[in-house]
């Protein structure tokens, strides 16, 4: 009996310990807020974990009273991988989201505002980027051909409104790298449907009325207006500017970046095409203005046009006049004056940390910056991917996950801000807004260092400090040379090698030939999108 008794005791204590550990397992993930941030995060986590044997449940709570703001109609090419990973068909995506192909950005008027002042930041890297730094060998041709035109096909395709692939190319594959322009509201609706119907995400339409603390300072549960109490192990704050968990509840300070990037207002107007068959632009066009810039994005059914500006340099009324004048060029004065405008306040910056206790913020709840390089959606994808891949198994390990997440995203925000600022600092424009932007006290330290280095050598991948940099050094090349940046001297260490000169000439000529070929075989953006809607893209 003695033996049996102690065995029972042993089994009981083991069960207790297991019980403790079970309580500690992170399995109930609660997302607060719908919109692109909430649904994309839910989809990424659910696609990876819900059907595993770990019993992970993703719940999304969306307040019925709040309309999602739908900023960020441009994505990066990373969205292709994200959509494929969550199991969404690209055909369905095109049919449901009023989506079009985006192959990069075109910046007009950023150098001096002259008619000829324009450059591309395409999604394609310069040819054989890891093998040879073509920038060095392009410099001597700089008066004859733009950098982007010399080293890749994409600026040529964009200039002609061509699609990045043919109808015979399978879903998500391409002839030229691409992301999307999309209707953010429709995108959220599609993700919502996909999450609930396919990925097993639980949806609750209700408002959070109270945040209930656990003893250790974690969030234990959320009280809802009608639906009772929802407990969770990890809470993801996707509540937008309100940031109700990270900012509102935990009072994590907000770090303003307005002293570096001045733009704090946006006006957006949905603009009709002059004709239903008008070409759909293959890139986001950003046109510099007196105290900000105008974005112009082509969707199949309409354009999304907006003016981002600094309220310290121009008033709302003047900014609106500027925007309507721009729209007037295509649709005429009458329509331009009647179209409704939406005003958006931007508080440029981010939270001091993004993951605190058992709460992590994604999307605008974490921070927001002007959409100059469409960084909003990609940050959501990257955040969701890291949360999903590093999903802490237990509460004990979560603090380490949080630390790593905070370090990673602190670095990324810094890099985004450096890169956006780079677009401004090489300007020759004389308006006060642009001169103020060039004041050295507004330059982040990291960017100042890079600019100093690049006076003596061309940027290349040594400038990438992390393996998963958001902006590869090629992006810096496109902007620098687009803005006519010229190194002070060609120092002896960057002396050109004869074999490399030959290789570079070969690649310039290959790029020219590939361009000529693609120009003859690729359809226009509108043609291909119509075909996708009609016939669909094949999966293979």
């Amino acid at each position: 009996m003695e033996t049996a008794h102690s065995l029972t005791a042993y089994l009981m204590s083991k069960a207790n310990r297991l019980g403790e550990q079970m309580n500690d397992v992170v399995s109930r993930i609660v997302i607060v807020g719908g919109g692109s941030a909430g649904w994309l995060t839910a989809a990424v986590i659910a696609a990876e974990h819900v059907n595993s044997d770990l019993g992970i449940q993703v719940t999304l709570i969306e307040s019925p009273d709040i309309n999602s703001i739908g900023v960020g109609e441009g994505t990066w090419p990373s969205m292709r991988a994200t959509l494929a990973k969550i199991g969404l068909s690209e055909t369905e995506f095109f049919r449901e989201c009023d989506a079009s192909f985006k192959q990069g950005s075109k910046f007009k008027g950023w150098l001096n505002g002259s008619d000829a002042d324009a450059y591309y930041h395409p999604f394609t890297l310069p040819d054989k980027y890891r093998e040879i730094n073509l920038a060095k060998y392009w410099l001597k041709y700089r008066d004859k051909v733009s950098f982007a035109d010399a080293v890749c096909v994409q600026s040529h395709l964009c200039e002609r409104g061509l699609a990045p692939k043919q109808i015979t190319a399978p879903e998500y594959s391409f002839a030229a790298n691409y992301g999307y322009h999309l209707d953010a509201g429709k995108f959220s609706a599609l993700l919502h449907k996909h999450c609930v119907e396919i990925l097993g995400v639980k949806y609750i339409s209700d408002s959070v009325t109270c945040i209930n603390a656990a003893e250790n300072g974690d969030i234990a549960s959320l009280s809802l207006q009608v639906g009772g109490v929802i407990s969770g192990d990890l809470f993801i704050d996707c509540s937008g500017f309100a940031s109700i968990l990270l900012g509102g509840y935990y009072k994590i300070p907000f770090i303003s970046k307005k002293h570096i990037l001045f733009n704090d207002r946006a006006l957006a107007i949905q603009t009709p095409y002059p004709d239903p068959n008008s070409p759909i632009s293959s890139q986001t066009t950003s046109i510099a203005q007196e105290a900000g810039w105008i974005w112009d994005i082509g969707l199949p059914s309409r354009r999304g046009v907006g003016h981002v500006f600094s309220s310290a340099h121009i008033g709302d009324d003047d900014a609106e006049i500027t925007l309507r004048k721009y729209i007037e060029q295509d649709v005429g004065k009458k329509i331009a004056e009647e179209l409704p405008v939406r005003k958006i306040k931007i508080n440029p910056g981010h939270r001091e940390i993004f993951w605190h206790k058992n709460c992590v913020a994604v999307g605008m709840a974490a921070g927001f910056i002007e959409p100059l390089e469409a960084s909003a959606l990609v940050l959501i994808e990257l955040s969701a991917a890291m949360i999903s891949e590093q999903l802490p198994a237990t509460r004990q390990i979560m603090d380490l996950s949080a630390k790593r997440f905070n370090e990673k995203f602190h670095y990324r925000w810094g890099k985004i801000i450096d890169f956006l600022k780079l677009h401004y600092v090489l300007t020759q424009r004389q308006e006060k807004y642009w001169r103020d932007n060039c004041e050295s006290k507004t330059l982040p330290e990291g960017l100042r260092e890079l600019l100093e280095l690049w006076r003596y050598r061309t940027p290349w991948y040594y400038d990438e400090l992390q393996i998963d940099e958001m902006f590869p050094s090629a992006s810096f090349q496109y902007v620098l040379y687009g803005m006519q940046f010229s190194p002070d001297v060609i120092p002896p260490r960057e002396k050109v090698k004869a074999t490399e000169v030959m290789r570079a000439e070969e690649l310039f000529s290959e790029n020219f030939q590939l361009t000529q070929r693609l120009l003859t075989v690729l359809p226009t953006n509108r043609d291909l999108i119509e075909k996708i809607k009609k016939h669909g893209l094949q999966k293979i």
Partner: protein, 239 residues
């Protein structure tokens, strides 16, 4: 350029069609469309591959006649060197057309016969008469109409068959590298075939579904047809 018009016994009453096969009649094509009902006879002679329509990206099945663009290895000085000629070759220069007609207040699509009047097969001197002297259909035209009917039904079956193949992930891209004895190399790309690994891994439910629709037979016909690639290479070597 093709120039299709509606066939009629007034304008085309004296029309004849040359039934010989030669490059001058546009027969030097490397592939021609086929469809499941024809697979059984096609697979005795020709490889069956799938490829994508350039305009729509949709898959269709082809009988392979040559290994290079514009090469038909079955064309010889004596004509078409095979027992069976694919019906989408035999139908030339006729195609199916559709005419919208109002019938009992409903818009209907009627099948009609169109002819490519720019085809070099068309003659008034030699070949098969299309119409009888008094305007009735000639036996030749009747045979063409039944071929066109066969193709029309085949196209629909093909689309449904291929949808099932895609649904069960049974197609995969493949390329063929051909090296001739004289050292010439050639690569065929843009073709798809049955993924045998996926096929053998299918559950009995899915196999039952494919079998009930008659698709399992078609799938094995396609697989069997692949051995004809070797015969095509031999035809090149013999030239």
């Amino acid at each position: 350029m093709n120039n299709y018009v509606l066939l009629n016994n007034v304008e085309h009453k004296n029309l004849k069609v040359i039934g010989d096969f030669a490059p001058k009649y546009g027969d030097n094509v490397m592939s021609t469309i086929t469809f499941p009902q024809e697979f059984r006879t096609i697979q005795g002679t020709y490889p069956i591959f799938f490829s994508k329509d350039r305009e729509t990206g949709r898959f269709f099945a082809s009988a392979i006649l040559g290994l290079r663009e514009g090469e038909n290895l079955f064309l010889t000085e004596k004509g078409w060197d095979a027992n069976y000629i694919p019906v989408t070759i035999k139908r030339n220069p006729f195609v199916i057309g559709f005419q919208r007609v109002q019938e009992d207040g409903m818009l209907k699509k009627n099948m009609v016969v169109n002819i490519d009047i720019s085809s070099p097969r068309i003659s008034e001197a030699e070949g098969e008469s299309v119409f009888l002297p008094h305007g009735g259909n000639s036996p030749y035209l009747e045979s063409v109409v039944s071929i066109l009917d066969y193709i029309s039904v085949g196209d629909r079956t093909s689309a449904e068959f291929i949808d099932s193949l895609l649904q069960y992930d049974l197609l995969e891209p493949f390329s063929i590298e051909i090296e001739l004895k004289n050292g010439d190399k050639n690569q065929l790309v843009g073709f798809y075939t049955i993924n045998e690994e996926k096929l053998v891994a299918l559950t009995s439910d899915i196999l039952g579904d494919l079998h009930a629709k008659g698709y399992l037979l078609y799938i094995y016909m396609v697989l069997a047809s692949l051995s004809n690639v070797e015969a095509l290479i031999q035809r090149i070597e013999m030239r």
